[in-house]
Every structure is written in C-alpha cells, then in structure tokens.
Symmetry: C2
Subunit: 235 residues, 2 copies
DNA sequence: AATAAAATTTAGGTATGACTAAATTTTAGA
DNA sequence: TCTAAAATTTAGTCATACCTAAATTTTATT
C-alpha cells in the first residue's frame, strides 16, 4: 500500500523497476529489434514524452548498477543483457495478458492493448505463471506476436512478410504487426487474422500491391499493409 | 504510456485519482465505517506512512475541488459524498478482483488480497464490467465482504457477529473479517469459511468463548475470533 | 489548574519523472 | 567546406508523495 524509502533500499536485490522504466525498456527493445540503436527522438515519440526527458532517463539507466542500457551521447541507446531481460519480462507480461483477456473476458484483439499496457506493470510473477499455465503456455499473443519464454528468451520467428510472396504462393497468417485499431478492425473484416489461410493471386510490380484470397474473399493490399502481415509459407 | 502534466489538466473532468489517493480514500472509508472520524495516526499506521505525510495528503484532499474529505485540524477526517464514491469505486474493484482471481485462477482466499491491492488501481471500467458480468454480479467477495454495487452504493449487511450467538442457535457464515493470512488458513482448516453452517454448542460467560460445530468438527473459539466471523442466523 | 504524554502539524528535505527554453552537436545540402 | 536544419543535451523548474526533526495542540492524570 505504501512506498519504500529509496535511501533504505537494500542494494543487491532483484529491485523492482518503476513503471516508467519498464516502459522505457520495452520501447527500447522494440526500437532496437532491427539491430540499430534507439534514438532519443524516436523514444520520445513512442513514449509520448519530451526529448529532454528521454535524455535524462537514459543517463540514469546507463549509470545504474547493473546498467540497463548502453549509451553514448548523440548515438542513441541499446540494451545491455540485463536490460534485455527487463524488457522481455514486461513484454511477456503484456502478451500473456492480451492472450488471457481475449480468451477469458472476450476482449477483441483491437481492445486488449490498452488494458494490458497498464496491467503489465502490476501483476506478480505468480499471476504470470497462473495465466500462462491456464492457457497452456501459448506461443503467440492475439496479434500473433511471439511471447517470450518463462526464462526470458525471445523465440526466433520463422515467418516472412506477406509482401515477399508472389502469385501461386500460399501462407498461413502468423502475425499482424499493427497498432492502429482502425486498421486492425479493417483487417479483421477481410479475414486477415492469425491462422487465416491466404492465397496470393496477383502481384503488381509498380506499387507492390498484392491481390490475395482469404476464405473466398479477394482483396488488393498495398505495400504498407503486406509488410505488416507475416505468414508461414505453405506452398 | 506517459504522464499528464497536472498543470494542463482540464478541471471539470472525472479526473483520475492517483494510486496514493485511491489508497487513502479506501483506508479512510474503512476507518470511518463505524461513524467516527479517522485519525491521522490511524491512517498513518494503516497506510504504512508517516503521520506528517498523512497530514499533508489530507490537506490536499480537503482543499481539492470537489473536496474528497472533510477535515478539521486535530479532529481527523471524514469522507464527503464525492469521497465516499471514490472509496467505493476502489473497494468495488478490489472485491470483484478477489472474487475473479479465486474463481478463474485458483487463488486461495488468503493469497488474493495482495494481488487485488495492486490491480484495483489500474483496471478500466470496462474490465470491471466484464468480470462482474462473467461472475453474474456477485454480492460478496471470497471473504464474504459485500461488494459495492455498480452505481456505487454499499449494500446493507444483515448479518451478525458470531460472538452474539448463544447455545442452541445456528447460523450460516456470511463473512470472515480477517486480514492475517495465518488466521485465515487456520479458520479454513476448521471449516469456518463463508456459507459454512455453524451450530453453537456452548458459551463461557467469563472469557466469551464459544464452542461451535462445523461439519462434524467441534472447536472452541475465543472472543477475538468470534467477533470477526459474521453469520446469518438460521435458528 | 498544572503538567506530562500522546497526537498532530509545521518546517525543511529528498527522489522520481515529467516539462520548457536555450545551448550544443551532428547531419546533410549547396 | 561551409552552413542551415535536425537531433540531442544542458539548465532550470515543477508536481507528487514521501521522509525526519521540531513545534504545537489536545488529552489525560494528578
Ligand atoms: Mn514475469
Ligand atoms: Mn505500459
Ligand atoms: Mn492498493
Ligand atoms: Mn469502477
């Protein structure tokens, strides 16, 4: 119910990270998945915080023991090993929660995100274990995003973006990487949800449009959509 | 994900109360249920915070618009109508969550409290509605505590403390008002849980001990226990 | 009524995590 | 290579919610 005096903290504990820090870690993870470092501005935008606030926080994270990020002025940040663990812990919470909310409370996949965004920071490890067990240790969340394992490793994703398929190829949707609720609802109306089967019918080399067929429905999808849908190629 | 600048708050909103404030409201509610006002020290103890911190917070709550508490120096605090609503909102969240965690994740009644204590502050009204609906709008939590209604009224409790029963009277347990996990587990081992049927066998006028029979098990209970168990008299 | 003890408030700080405005550094264009 | 724009950091504040030590007020007890 109450707070802990930071001055009386026993150091060598698995210290609980603040909600802010947890959000920073998660966001840095997402921005550095491609291998590049995360810029101050990109973080500021994603976290909806000013750039100076990011600089301040980043300095703190870099000088904490153990350091959670690697930081060089003007060069952005990357996660340390410790930092990656912290990020994956939050991401595991988030994705398990999304899956659980959809399965047990009938949330739709475009509604869950917000709720999970707040719950992810306050559930116990016990809660995490209970929902994981109750769902039979799912591999992916409702969007198809991979759930970090209990020992905080991120499974490798074998799937490829729909944009790389060509006419004649088929696939099963594994993941839809979209945050926008409008877009999510649109894709759902087209049947483009995880585990849907897709046939690629046509490809337009100029705009990279793909014509795809999902459950008897045919749609023409632009490049900015086909790069967000990931599939496991079946043919 | 980020914070709101309090200086740019639009006033006349159903402003979201901070977690600290929510905990103060809940605790003040509990301490004033008997009709008396809550003292600074009692609040400090329950909230695990220093007395000066309580004074400071109380002043803020009293001068906020709308005021959440009524406060007179050295005289303790009581809740305003607004304050009571705020308290009941948190209590409803807490008790619905306890019921939900026990029903769907197999928490035991002595484990749920802590988890609910943190979740109560972050679930949405939507989440509240979903779990209430999923459970068929339960009247009581796993301890038997009454759950405030959706329109934030506290139902009146018809039950009486076990301590007021005498040999020959029977009752059904409605509520066990104990916070201590050890005690809760002990009572459970005696079968003293909500909806258990109790027969009062003996009464010792000197120490107010009651000998009771629950499911073929007979126990002698001290006054400090019998005042914490509430029953609906059936005979 | 006087005084000691208990309760409460005042005074002065701290940590966290935001913000704006100004300065600096990096980057990219001519 | 110089320079302007963009990105980033520094400097200085602020709100929230705690804290300890000291002062004050209330309350009991003679
Ligand atoms: Mn975890
Ligand atoms: Mn979050
Ligand atoms: Mn709480
Ligand atoms: Mn509510």
């Amino acid at each position: 119910m109450a707070a802990v005096n930071p001055r009386t903290w026993k150091q060598p504990m698995k210290q609980k990270l603040t909600i802010s820090i947890q959000d920073y870690m998660k966001t840095i993870y997402e921005l550095t998945e491609n291998g590049e470092s995360a810029s101050t501005n990109a973080l500021a935008q994603k976290l909806k915080v000013s750039a100076p606030s990011v600089t301040g926080m980043i300095k703190k994270l870099a000088s904490s023991k153990p350091a959670l990020v690697e930081y060089q002025k003007h060069q952005g940040v990357t996660l340390t090993k410790e930092g990656r663990k912290a990020a994956l812990e939050v991401i595991r919470h988030h994705r398990l929660l999304e899956a659980w909310l959809v399965q047990t409370l009938g949330y739709s996949w475009d509604e869950v995100h917000e709720e999970a965004e707040r719950l992810e920071h306050v559930i116990s490890e016990d809660f995490e274990r209970r929902i994981a067990t109750a769902m039979g240790h799912p591999l992916r969340d409702p969007h198809g995003e991979l759930i970090p394992t209990e020992d905080l490793k991120m499974p490798v994703d074998e799937s490829t973006p729909l944009s790389s398929l060509r006419p004649g190829q088929n696939g099963i949707v594994t993941c839809v990487k979209a945050a926008d609720m409008e877009l999510l609802r649109h894709l759902e109306s087209l049947g483009l949800v995880p585990s849907a089967e897709i046939e690629v019918k046509e490809y337009s080399p100029f705009d990279h449009n793909l014509t795809v067929k999902v459950e008897k429905k045919t749609s023409v999808l632009g490049f900015n959509i086909t790069t967000k849908i990931f599939v496991e190629i079946t043919k």
